[in-house]
């Protein structure tokens, strides 16, 4: 019975980052052959993104403090590859119960599944600042990809602004690679970090790595300012970014000349496919954003649909590896397959530590919700279609749209080419501030298919 089931049970995993690869590995060890679908051309996800063929930088150069983990994940994947149905360069753009709609190189296809595991990862979480639509402003993750995957700096003189551990990681990677870093500007004040220390002590090794990165920046004489308030990105429409202006913690205004800005405030999960599958989301108070409502092992509210990694709950790459193994074991147990109890307990224990740490991070580097309310009316919220904070506020004050999807219908914030990935959370904060209600009460932008734009030339090929 068990063997027959293993041969016929179709398991689809979406995403080949740390969660997806560890999940596939656990299922293969149990005798399954999962389908692993990934939008990227190579495995590793964003964090352990592999450089293209023909690039020669070493793991130490590419991944720094994370080199061993990156190599281990890539090696695991390489061993796994003959034992899974791997489909790179493939976007899952929609799903219906039991079926994924995919597109790869302009060709549409469907994948049938009995169990679905979403390891869809995260993107940068952004808070607009006046002028952020100027060419030369990049997401923090984007700045890292430029360096990691292409060996380029996003500019001749780069400012890093926002908050979160990635701010320091990417800035120090830029310094190490020989790029010119003009400043690191963090909205989080020192006091928050000190208060969060007990929680951050859950992972002393990682805390030490963080302090080491900071020390590297100081040693390289990079100006690091904490507790700043962004005032604007300076520049001119055709030439793009020429500087950044902030208010320092002591009240002084500081202008830093630069031709590129890397901007980001930690991460937001990619929940669109889970949303389309009907999975419940819940508001996470600590990070002030909507996450998938899963049980401790990764079961969503929809039977047969599972989720792991930052796409479910933003806890970082290490947690994603454990969550990937754990979600595979949850599925195995649901299929009445044996699971090694100590292996299961190891993952659960590790995740508990990471949960404590992520609460510390959320406290140390908080999402600066108050910036949304303080945005000048002229500031652009939607970069895609150039819609301003004032226009969004007017949908609240003149049309009474106190719910995100209603406000989107009136203002088009969230309706442009990024489909709300980079404006919707900040948009919700603008609406909440204008309506004078808590942000969880304005709701969240619902997922819609196609989850990314499809080319008009996309065709179906009948076998």
């Amino acid at each position: 019975m068990a063997t027959a089931r293993m041969n016929t049970h179709r398991i689809a995993i979406v995403g080949a980052g740390p969660a997806g690869v560890r999940c596939a590995e656990t299922l293969v060890a149990a005798g399954f052959r999962p389908i692993l679908i990934d939008e990227n051309r190579r495995d590793g996800g964003q964090i352990y993104r592999r450089q293209p063929e023909g690039f020669t930088r070493s793991y130490a150069t590419l991944y720094g403090t994370e080199a061993d983990k990156a190599r281990a994940l890539h090696d695991s994947f390489d061993r796994l590859r003959p034992q899974i149905d791997y489909r790179p360069d493939t976007l899952v753009w929609n799903l219906t119960p039991g079926q994924l709609c995919c597109v790869s190189q302009g060709v549409h296809s469907t994948v049938e599944y009995d169990a679905l595991i979403l390891c869809t990862g995260a993107t940068d979480r952004l808070m607009p600042v006046e002028g952020w639509q100027l060419g030369g402003t990049y997401s923090l993750g984007g700045a890292q990809i430029a360096l990691k995957a292409q060996a380029v700096s996003i500019g001749h003189r780069v400012v890093f602004m926002g908050s979160g551990p990635l701010l320091y990681l990417v800035a120090s990677q830029y310094v190490k690679a020989g790029a010119s870093v003009a400043a690191v500007l963090d909205t989080s004040p020192l006091g928050h970090r000190l208060k969060a220390l007990p929680k951050l002590m859950a992972r002393p090794g990682l805390l030490f790595t963080g302090l080491k990165l900071l020390a590297q920046l100081y040693r390289a004489k990079i100006p690091v300012h904490l507790g700043i308030s962004p005032l604007g990105v300076l520049g001119e429409a055709s030439r793009g970014v020429s500087g950044v202006r902030v208010r320092r913690a002591n009240g002084e205004t500081l202008t830093v000349a630069c031709d590129a800005l890397a901007l980001g405030y930690h991460l937001r999960p990619e929940t669109q496919l889970a949303d389309l599958a009907g999975c419940r989301l819940r508001f996470d108070e600590a990070s002030s954003q909507w996450w998938l409502d899963t049980d401790a092992e990764g079961r969503t509210s929809v039977s047969g649909v599972y989720a792991a990694g930052d796409g479910a709950k933003v806890r970082g790459a290490d947690a994603a590896e454990h969550a990937g193994r754990l979600v595979a074991m949850a599925l195995l147990r649901d299929l009445q397959q044996p699971v090694e109890a100590t292996h299961l307990a190891d993952q659960q224990r590790a995740l508990k530590v990471m949960d404590a740490f992520r609460l510390g991070l959320a406290e140390a580097f908080p999402w600066p919700a108050e910036q949304a309310g303080a945005l000048p009316d002229e500031a652009i919220v939607c970069r895609c279609e150039m819609i301003s904070a004032g226009e969004l506020r007017r949908t609240v004050s003149e049309k009474g749209a106190c719910e995100v999807n209603r406000a989107k219908a009136f203002s088009r914030v969230g309706m442009g080419r990024c489909q709300g990935r980079y404006c919707s959370q900040a948009g919700a904060e603008v609406i909440a501030a204008a309506a004078g209600i808590p942000v969880q009460e304005v709701g969240r932008q619902r997922g819609q298919a196609p989850v990314k734009p499809l080319s008009m030339l996309t065709r179906e090929v009948t076998p």
Binding site: T61, G135, M386
Partner: protein, 102 residues
């Protein structure tokens, strides 16, 4: 115009030749279109909604800010398409511009 991106390493790769707005440029094998274009100039395209030029944003295929066009009219996401010998790229939007601002 000045280049936006700066190459820091991996410069020994074979050269790939393509055209951008009719002008020949040289890129390196394995470059994304975005890197090929932004190591030669400051922008990828102009915004449909304002006089501003755009140079991409997320580099991971999520924001769609970096679309450029082939001469044949096909739209390519510059951050996730690699250069190919002989590509003929257009950075001026073939559709009508709709300047709401400026």
């Amino acid at each position: 115009m000045n280049a936006r991106f700066v190459r820091l390493a991996e410069q020994g790769r074979p050269v790939v030749r393509l055209k951008v707005d009719g002008e020949p440029i040289e890129a390196l094998q394995g470059d994304t279109l975005m890197v090929a274009l932004l190591t030669h100039g400051p922008a990828l395209r102009q915004s449909e909604f304002d006089p501003g030029s755009r140079a991409g944003f997320c580099l991971m295929g999520a924001c769609q800010d970096c679309w450029v066009w082939t001469r044949g009219g096909e739209r390519l996401r510059a951050c996730s398409n690699e250069v190919r010998e002989g590509l003929d790229i257009i950075t001026r939007q073939p559709e009508a511009i709709w300047p709401l601002r400026g």
